[in-house]
Amino acid sequence: MKEIQLKVNGRDYSLNIDENMRLIDLLRDELGLLGTKEGCGEGECGACTVIMDGETVTSCLVMAFQAHGSHILTIEGLERDGKIHPIQQAFIDVGAVQCGFCTPGMILSAKALLDKNPNPTREEIREGISGNLCRCTGYNKIVDAVELAIKYIEEGK
């Protein structure tokens, strides 16, 4: 076992973890944060995307012990004062969520993009979410949702 300290969604944790554990296992099995999904387990699909120290990572390719000292943001951490994040609201309003499996990772990729570039073009949005596969929507609604989210964020919604 290995002792690590990390911050998840603003909360400090000190945990004893199995050396073989991945970050996604830590989030789902140890902390019960089931919003992060495991799809391919090989970094191709992006369903397990979380934000680690400001950058998106596929949590299936990060070993849990590597996250020692870092700050992880999962989909559960986007809520503020009982209100969901404007990007989440935009996804709902546009109808960008179908089966929902890709949605948490997709929204975190969108957030990381907007944190770096608050006014991306449609093409830049497509590139920003290019590491997240969606088999339902055909992506257009998702790109629409990110564009609407830009508006919501500007309006302070």
Partner: protein, 290 residues
Amino acid sequence: MALEEVYKGENVDEVVELLDKYGKDAKIIAGGTDIVIDLRNNRIDPKVLIDISSIEELKGIKDKGEYIEIGAGVSFTQVVENPLFERNLYGLNKACHMVGSPQIRNKGTLGGNIANGSPAADSIPPLICLNSTLILKSVRGTREISIEDYYRDEDARIRPDELLVSINFKKPKKDQVLSFAKLGLRKALAISRLSIAILVELDEEGKIINIEVASGSLGKYPMRELELEQFLLGKKLEDSTVDEGVLVLQRAMEKRLAGRSTFPYKRVAVDRMFREALGEAMEYLDEVRA
């Protein structure tokens, strides 16, 4: 996966001592984008994993005047976002930008691309064109080797007790440009089918006075295309020269790949990739001269 011990390395000295202690039982993990998959599929089975992703001295891109030093732990995203790799070094930026996806580029490192030894590693052909030198450290000392020799000579590859610490290359001259073209099966998350990098310099009459061409996935490892370079050197870039150049490249790759199922496809595809890389180089040349 049956790891017994994991370490989060804090500095290079500590890591090389651990490598000396554990030798073949230990593996280095940086971005993890390849090794975690190998661990899970039991393709490798180390007892010890040493993480180098938090070691600051491996994460710098340093402008040393005549040289640029890229720490082995520098991520593809860091290269893409660094203004040093614009204009005449744009080919390296482009190669790093075409790796995987944003998530993979955030974690994956140049050092990992080299130490892992994939024949399809996107960042290698541009680094070969730049005549990069690799710096490897162990408790025995420091080893420097050109990236070309590193790939060509199997005995020169990274040893179990060594850590790749940096990649160094001389900045191209003002009139030299580096370009890159990659063929993937789709736009994002594509593993290279093949790639070509070109470093070129023309004189005032448009004659090629310097050229380095390196390929990825056209052999067992990324390599210089010496026959093509020799053919192009001293010539003007007219259509007939480019057409003949394609034939030279196709003949060279045939020697290495003949009989493989992918050869007929790559033989056709390399034509387009070479022209694309060359065409971009000419565009960049116009830009850096403007």
